[in-house]
Symmetry: C2
Subunit: 413 residues, 2 copies
Amino acid sequence: MHRFKYIGRSLFCEKVKVSDIAAKVGTPLYVYSRNTLLDHYAKIKEAFASVSPLICFSVKSNSNLSVLRALVKAGAGVDIVSGGELYRAKLAGAPPERVVYAGVGKRRDEIMDAIRYGILFFNVESEEELTLVNACAASLGKKVNVAVRINPDVDVSTHDYIKTGKGQTKFGVNFDTAKRIFRSSWKYRNIAIRGVHIHIGSQILNPQPFRRAIKKVLGFLDKNSLLVEYLNIGGGMGVVYSLEKPQTATGFAGKILPLVRKSNLKLILEPGRFIAANSGILVTMVLFRKKNGQKRFIIVDGAMNDLIRPSLYEAYHEILPVTKPRRRASVARYDIVGPVCETGDFLAKNRKMTEPASGDLLAVMGSGAYGYSMSSNYNSRPRAAEVIVDGNKFFVVKKRETYGDLVRGETIR
Amino acid sequence: MHRFKYIGRSLFCEKVKVSDIAAKVGTPLYVYSRNTLLDHYAKIKEAFASVSPLICFSVKSNSNLSVLRALVKAGAGVDIVSGGELYRAKLAGAPPERVVYAGVGKRRDEIMDAIRYGILFFNVESEEELTLVNACAASLGKKVNVAVRINPDVDVSTHDYIKTGKGQTKFGVNFDTAKRIFRSSWKYRNIAIRGVHIHIGSQILNPQPFRRAIKKVLGFLDKNSLLVEYLNIGGGMGVVYSLEKPQTATGFAGKILPLVRKSNLKLILEPGRFIAANSGILVTMVLFRKKNGQKRFIIVDGAMNDLIRPSLYEAYHEILPVTKPRRRASVARYDIVGPVCETGDFLAKNRKMTEPASGDLLAVMGSGAYGYSMSSNYNSRPRAAEVIVDGNKFFVVKKRETYGDLVRGETIR
């Protein structure tokens, strides 16, 4: 459920015509629906209400300060993975007791910043990291909470690049190492192990691998008589990009809650895509049409530097006209491609659609997660603007970059 | 040939210890060797000296202003693909008559800027683009030069994402369309078709596909009695990342020159990778080591946001210690991975090396092309610093980004 709908021939975000935003702000352009973000957050909250979980929005999926602020004001916590994300979380007003910090490669300065802010806990991913967190805590004269990220070696059906819970990946520690960590926890005098963390991957459409992972981890705690307070089951709930049939938040909760209730642990969830993906679109303008042999191309002003998911993950995004054409003449199959000089620069392939004209606007749906946050200046392209819509109002929350921005910090020697 | 060499146990860039630069500037860090850039440029220039070509450095491969400036001062032109690259070319002092502008999706404002600057010509990639360039030229009361980019439908052996000369890609026009463009050139009153352009792909290690493409295009001009002045054969010459045996510039020229001389056309080359790739390294620091089952990981502070080639193209980069270890104890196979929370975040896989310690520096070789220019702020990671070395001096030519830079232009609504 999202709030991008046609009224007549025009695509609206909430009560604002998308074409009106583009006319004012230009393209390429990200548009987020604040009330869709809040709806998705509320759906998870309600589905899990019986255990009052802490829902930490995954900042890496959409790092925009206004997006973070909206969710934080609604009660969400944040899942961060870097010092830069901590900086954003602070600016967005995230209270420290609602911040959890994951990632395999935390630097000393990042750890120090997070301890000073007083975050809820670190999701620790290796013994060397634990040693460093302990040393940092000691140097500040503090006792610091951690959760041990366990790699439960559960396979899931998703793109290889977004599987994270298999034994062969860099994430977490295996059960043997986890056991060693718990057994030697007395060595880490400035650390309290308060929880376990799992995160098995992204865009997962089936609760079974979550259940298997949770069971394995609870079994491990039980078997070794280990006491913790928190069970952090990470993120990874899939969303609809095309014809997927992901479970609803309620359906997902129905499968997970019995296990959680039995464990008596406080639940933490780290949804990113589930909240943000379908809350945002990338709006792009048609520049040219062309044909090479039998192949037809629509060249738009958005490119892989704006949205890299199609190139990097072979991701599917629905492409809709911002204004529906009056007639269904000349329907054909097109590749929708950007101006970047790479064959890998495409937004969609082989899509059946009515031929648009130069100047027409297209909406790349489901671009609210891992869209702008992964964007770059490749081909010296200034990054897009970001707009947030709330009812009948819209706000530019990130200005379009200028050519001057491209060279900031450079000097010619 | 590049100027990154060990003296004793220390890796040097020209006459500067890489570890000295890292100590001063921090990591992750790009280091470029100015004299390697100039050497590579000179090699191409000498190899093709008999036809005095215009050598246009491909700005997208490395857009750093100091890199551009060094090459422009040595006499190079630039191959640009966007208004942002034109902006950089101007700042680097590239004379307009040495600027060529390619790309399938040029916007009106970008075309206007380029006409005003008086560039040598546009490489035009579609009939709709030609119409727009003509209209822009008319509105400025100018006659504008173009080359027609022809897609010669030649297959090359390289990664799918960097093939550009196959009929199915978005690039250029096929021979039928090219013929129609030449035949109807009278319609474009503000345009002079001065050349033909081909670009068949990247990292091509064999001159044969270049020869085939050039022969096809010259045959087309001949058969249709079309007169032009310029033959732009693009870029794509492969370099050594691992065990490749690419031809030298001289070997390549030896195969290409006979065709070019016979044609009597002025030659344009657009090398990027050939000049920049082995002129730069990414320096990164070891954070942690860890083992998951049998798999060993070295976690470093550089990540896919700094260098996306391994993730995006499965590219191989040699990894060398910045300071060679004294003993060859505990050699094993490691994945070298970054802090970004994606399984796709790796710099190298399964590399045999002596186990480094936390704090050790590693050099990711061959990172001077498509390295920094493709970097992003994913996971809210500030982008790396860039340094250029000239003999025994080094200069920070792009400052490391700060947390403040991450949120510039954002407002909370």
